[in-house]
């Protein structure tokens, strides 16, 4: 991250009026950006009688909506489903994408280039095109309405593999050779020596995969039919339809779907921003 320091050369110690205006406008823009989230949260803390009161700080904040919605059991189930699916798919991607990326970056063997091009070429195929064959496959094998049905299309991704390959190429061969001379087997060399060297890239991959699966809507909507197997976004959508105009309930549901990622961000802001930058620059 040599880049972090570079733009500091731009900022002069003297504070000019233009700077203050720019800062103020940026700040106001930022507040506008989070306004929808503030309204969502504040409405989730209001009871039905206060919904039309647009003050951001509720007059009499209450957790009743949360107690009611979480007590009903469906949301806790959907939270569990989403967490399970997102975590397993993320672990699978971190494991397999980096294993394949490492193999393509560090092994010399015939067919390596073809395998790389073949995997990369799948990036050109939009998910929407594969959804119908996946649906057919899932019906034939009885994967409709199962966790595996939700997860199987995303267990590995070409994007993740490509990203990992890029980073493993930066790992010096000497490290791996030294481990080989010490008699470590190739799996141990990858897992114990190479993997720890690209931790920032792994966390970037993990963040993207988790976020993508946590917010995924299209495929879970198709592959799940019973409410027990819904993920949070699909469950929320069906819940909101059924609530029709009880906006405080809908906002509570939306908050439950949104808060986990926002809270994770507050703790891991530095890693997440760095991860997005890494993935964007190499991707």
């Amino acid at each position: 991250m040599k880049a972090a320091a570079s733009s500091q050369g731009l900022s002069m110690p003297n504070i000019r009026p233009g700077r203050i205006v720019a800062w103020t406008l940026l700040f106001i823009g930022g507040v506008i950006m989070v306004t929808p989230l503030l309204f969502m949260l504040s409405t989730s803390l209001k009871d039905a009688s206060q919904v039309y009161d647009l003050r951001v700080i509720p007059e009499a904040p209450t957790l009743d909506n949360y107690i009611e919605i979480l007590g009903d059991g469906r949301f806790t189930r959907w939270l569990l489903n989403s967490t399970l699916v997102a975590v397993i798919v993320t672990l699978s991607n971190v494991f397999f994408d980096s294993l394949v990326g490492y193999t393509l970056a560090k092994f010399r063997f015939r067919g390596r280039y073809i395998v790389f091009i073949a995997i990369l070429s799948t990036l050109m195929i939009p998910t929407e095109m594969l959804v119908l064959p996946w649906y057919l496959m899932a019906s034939q094998f009885g994967w409709i309405d199962s966790y595996w049905g939700i997860m199987f299309p995303g267990m590995m991704t070409a994007f993740g593999t490509f990203l990992m390959k890029q980073f493993f190429e930066g790992v010096p061969d000497d490290f791996l050779e030294a481990a080989r001379i010490d008699g470590l087997n190739e799996f141990t060399i990858w897992w114990k020596i190479a993997m720890p060297l690209i931790t920032p890239a792994l966390s970037a991959l993990a963040i993207f995969t988790f976020l993508g699966n946590w917010t995924a809507f299209f495929w879970p909507l198709i592959v799940t039919t019973s409410a027990e197997l819904y993920t949070l976004p699909v469950g929320l959508s069906s819940f909101a339809v059924e609530q029709s105009i009880q906006w405080e309930k809908i906002m509570t549901g939306a908050s439950i779907a949104t808060l986990p990622t926002l809270i994770i961000f507050l703790f891991l802001q530095r890693y997440i921003v760095r991860g997005v930058m890494l993935a964007g620059l190499k991707g």
């Binding site: 880049a3 570079s6 500091q8 050369g9 900022s11 700077r19 406008l25 930022g30 950006m33 989070v34 929808p36 309204f39 647009l54 397999f96 394949v100 193999t103 092994f107 010399r108 063997f109 390596r112 073949a118 995997i119 050109m124 195929i125 939009p126 929407e128 095109m129 594969l130 959804v131 119908l132 649906y135 057919l136 496959m137 299309p153 590995m156 080989r180 190739e186 799996f187 990858w190 946590w214 917010t215 809507f217 299209f218 929320l236 959508s237 909101a240 105009i245 906006w247 809908i250 549901g253 779907a257 949104t258 990622t261 926002l262 961000f265 802001q269 997005v276 930058m277 964007g280 991707g283």
Partner: protein, 308 residues
């Protein structure tokens, strides 16, 4: 993986007689074995199947029969398809420039801000972490008439007439697009910031010594050097807008894509053809069209990157 190695090691001298290079080849294919099966079964085979289905009349109830280009002919003659095609491109040609312009301006100034830099960055970035399906409901609420909808309430307090938003065929599409642009800005700003920081400071110093104005530095140094970032973001966000679905589906669940199909994008048409009408073959032809559109965009990107 290690089990395989141990078995091979145990099976006597064969493994130990191999050269390091030969062992490496075996390890490599061992590592690739499971992923290759995955890519063949979950990516390549379905790709071919999608092309095949697009030339059949497959529905859920009856087996697929080959019908040639019938689905494509039907699509070309379907007024709904052209309406959807137009909508999809409207999402693209409104969404991409608007979101890139806003995110570049924010990133350009944010790059120079030191005071509370990471707080302001976080404010812009937070919407990126939200679930589109959930946010569609928040925005749907905003767009309601008074006294429910926040936006109309604010307009009313300034004496501006009520706006129909999602109920109007002309306002609904921009109203659906707004949350998509909003949620994507944070990502684009972060990528622009990374691109801006990758430009060596010496270039700016040299330009200042030469007496270039800020505007000239922006035009002659910053923007040209930012071209790879820009191309990446144009393609990335174009693909995102062409595949828009979650927001559209959730913001009007009574009539997804309405009113009068004025907000319906291609992916929603695919979803409805496949899972409401169960015309899988016809839907497959629509997915092939989506593929072709995305392919053209990717090829244009490759072309632009090469010109660099």
């Amino acid at each position: 993986m290690t089990a395989v190695a141990q078995r091979e090691a145990a099976s006597g001298g064969l493994w130990s007689r191999m050269s390091l290079g030969q062992k490496q080849v075996i390890w490599a294919w061992g590592f690739l074995a499971v992923p290759l099966v995955f890519y063949v079964v979950i990516r390549f085979w379905p790709t071919f199947q999608a092309f095949y289905l697009s030339v059949t009349d497959w529905t859920i109830t009856k087996p697929a029969a080959f019908v040639g280009l019938e689905n494509y002919k039907r699509l070309a003659a379907d007024p709904l398809f052209w309406q959807v095609f137009r909508n999809t491109f409207l999402y693209l040609i409104l969404g991409t420039p608007i979101s890139l312009l806003i995110s570049f301006v924010v990133a350009y100034y944010l790059d120079r801000v030191r005071f509370m830099h990471s707080l302001i960055r976080a404010l812009y970035f937070l919407p990126f972490l939200t679930t589109a399906a959930a946010m569609a409901w928040v925005w749907r609420w905003f767009y309601q008439p008074v006294p429910i909808g926040v936006i109309n309430d604010i307009l009313a307090s300034f004496g501006i007439p009520q706006q129909p938003f999602l109920r109007s065929t002309s306002q609904a599409l921009p109203a659906v697009l707004a949350p998509a642009v909003w949620a994507g800005l944070g990502f684009q700003i972060i990528i622009f910031l990374a691109g801006l920081r990758a430009i060596p400071v010496t270039y700016y110093e040299a330009a200042r010594i030469d007496g270039l104005s800020e505007g000239a530095i922006l035009r002659k140094i910053t923007l040209p050097l930012l071209k790879p970032t820009l191309v990446f973001l144009v393609v990335f966000s174009s693909i995102g807008f062409l595949r828009i679905f979650d927001q559209v589906y959730n913001i009007n669940t009574n009539d997804p894509g309405g009113p009068l199909n004025s907000t319906k994008p291609l992916v929603l048409m695919i979803y409805q053809t496949a899972f409401s009408s169960y015309e899988m073959g016809y839907a497959a032809a629509q997915t092939v069209v989506l593929f072709l559109i995305l392919l053209v965009i990717s090829l244009v990107q490759l072309r632009l990157m090469r010109d660099r």
